[in-house]
Amino acid sequence: MPTDAGTLTREQVLDAYRTVLRARTLDDRRFVLNRAGKLAFIISPRGHEVAQVAAITALQPGRDRFCLYYRNFAAALACGFTPEELMLSAFARAADPSSGGRQTPGNFGSRRRGVIIGSSTVGPQIPKAAGIGLALKWKGEGALCYVSFGEGATSQGDFHEGLNFASIHRCPVIFFCENNRWAISVPQPLQVAGPGVAERAAGYGIPGVRVHGDDFFAVHLAVQEAAERARAGDGPTLIEAEVLRLQSHSTDDDQRAYRDAAELAAESARDPIPRMRAALMQRGWLTAEDDASLREEVGREVERATEAAEAAADPDAGSLGRHVYADA
């Protein structure tokens, strides 16, 4: 039984589907480039793409703030980053809009898009989002802060501190946990006490929602409801999206070494992208022909992005000491 599309239009959903395809196609290309020795390090969103794009589609890039984490490649595209920009980041080029080639790809930032620059430690963005939410509440313009993280980050003290603060001050924040049940090699039973992440919301007196991360409409609806609460001054929401990690933690990891082969095979058969496609076709919003031409178009776009990024300039070595302080 597919979830209701709610207020979403066909155009919005097809646009989101294109973003999902972009993320997957870019990711595939990055792995080819990694194996060819051209890209140093990748963290893949594989299996998370539908949940990420569904969540961002329910929000307002340009108005809202986004504290993303390193697996949010598809979310970054949904926030307005272009394939070429993400490839510039993958190649650590000077024109990488997030950091000019300073950070590993996956630390997204763009002031004009409201994407708050990330870092590679786990969880510090959670209380930071509470602070941004407090500022947005003070400004009273109805904007909210979306912050995402994996279930591993919920073990950090910063998770507790962030939710506690945001709840006390009813900050307009959406805490979005992408639970793929694996923090590198540590499975959920060794990571998260109790039934799951969503239940923890009760301790802070805020709504906790668990959704199937492969159901575009269900994730969209959950985030939309959380956004309505936040904008109405009713405080934060904790959402736990159950997703699959269809790729190893990073290019420096091989999950076949610690995960059951049958389980991996079963999960790859549950790839959320074919499910989203089927849901669109079932609604009559997408035909097989449309899908084929869309994929072809995205493939060409990724090809162009790769060529442009590969040809782009590296940062100048003389720029190493820039932006340490305002005057340098």
């Binding site: 990488d96 809009p97 997030s98 950091s99 000019g100 300073r102 950070q103 630390n107 930032g109 763009s110 002031r111 708050i116 620059i117 870092s119 430690t121 510090p124 959670i126 209380p127 930071k128 989002a129 509470a130 602070g131 941004i132 939410g133 407090l134 500022a135 947005l136 003070w138 400004k139 802060c145 003290g157 910063d158 501190e161 962030g162 506690n164 603060f165 006390i168 820039r322 932006h323 340490v324 302080y325 305002a326």
Partner: protein, 328 residues
């Protein structure tokens, strides 16, 4: 001009800056209703309200993180860590997040904020209310670190720190909070530049570079040495990062001898870095090895008065150290 002690000067600086700019806000444990455990924020919540003077949960990481979120949204937060010893739970937020915002975003984001904390010992504060952790923060490019030792310096430098475009760690020697009163100016005339040392005593025989509570101790030591015919030139750094190398070099070129006097543990203290830099810069002018006069390498200052006394530098210990350098 009114006479003020150091903690009153801190409070006056906060008051004036909050009056001047409504983006300035204060957050921390007990800063609101109580006015701070040392009364540095006394009366400010009554004057400016519970939003701009915010009592936070007892959770230092989120205090730093929320301050960062407010700064990213254009506010100018002054966060209080109740004791510098308690800033370590916020270490990741300060070092990995706040200090690196500008650098890791290639200049797209900035994080102007102040983190105030009472520092140092000699008040029977024992291991966890006496530490001098400035070296941890001075080691981090992206942070500025200020440690004043007089009411006028505290006021002028705190006002400058609040107006600075970069994050400033502002350490206040708690032993001096109520030690002396002096005339302190108002408004912009009270401002002092960050990064400029002051010569507090002229002398031709040996240079003592110091900061914080050790300024007063070194002054007493210098009076004793004067009776023996040794004249000490004392430089109070006031700002530890950036620090005023040139003022020190000028003095050493005159005296040919230098000791760095600091209250923190000797090994790896910021005074060790100052000593190393001065040894490099002044080698040709030196008639004696650059010396460190500092506290012993034990974990922290004990509670017992006997042990506290054994730990702390005092005028006798500093005079002995300076005499050795002068007579080398």
């Amino acid at each position: 001009m009114p006479e003020r002690n150091l903690v009153q000067a801190v409070r006056d600086a906060l008051y004036e800056e909050m009056e001047r700019d409504d983006r300035v806000c204060i957050l921390g444990e007990d800063v609101g209703r109580k006015g701070g455990v040392f009364k540095a924020t006394e009366g400010l919540q009554q004057r400016f309200g519970a939003q701009r003077v915010l009592d936070t949960p007892l959770a230092e990481s989120s205090i730093a993180a929320v301050a960062q979120g407010l700064a990213l949204e254009g506010f100018l937060p002054v966060a209080e860590m109740q004791f510098a010893d308690y800033s370590f739970p916020a270490f990741n937020q300060i070092v990995n997040e706040i200090a690196k915002v500008r650098y890791r975003s290639n200049g797209d984001f900035a994080c102007p904020l102040v983190i105030r904390a009472p520092t140092g010992g000699g008040v029977r504060g024992a291991l966890y209310h006496s530490q001098s952790p400035e070296a941890f923060y001075c080691h981090v490019p992206g942070l500025k670190v200020v440690l004043p030792s007089t009411p006028a310096d505290a006021k002028g430098l705190l006002k400058a720190a609040i107006r600075d475009p970069d994050p400033v760690i502002f350490l206040e020697p708690k032993k001096l909070y109520r030690a002396e009163r002096q005339e302190v100016g108002d408004g912009d005339s009270a401002m002092l530049p960050i990064g400029v040392a002051t010569v507090v005593r002229r002398g031709a025989d040996v240079t003592a570079v110091t900061y914080g509570y050790m300024r007063a101790v070194t002054l007493q030591a210098a009076s004793r040495l004067s009776a023996d015919g040794i004249e000490v030139e004392i430089i109070d750094l006031r700002t530890l990062r950036p620090w005023d190398v040139e003022s020190c070099v000028r003095s050493i070129e005159k005296t040919g001898r230098v000791a760095v006097v600091y209250e923190a543990n000797r090994s790896g203290g910021w005074g060790a870095e100052v000593a190393a830099e001065l040894a490099e810069r002044c080698f040709a002018s030196l008639d004696a090895p650059v010396s460190r006069i500092a506290s012993p390498d034990v974990p922290a200052m004990p509670f017992s008065p006997t042990l506290e006394h054994a730990f702390m530098l005092n005028p006798d210990k500093v005079a002995d150290g300076l005499r050795r350098v002068a007579r080398y």
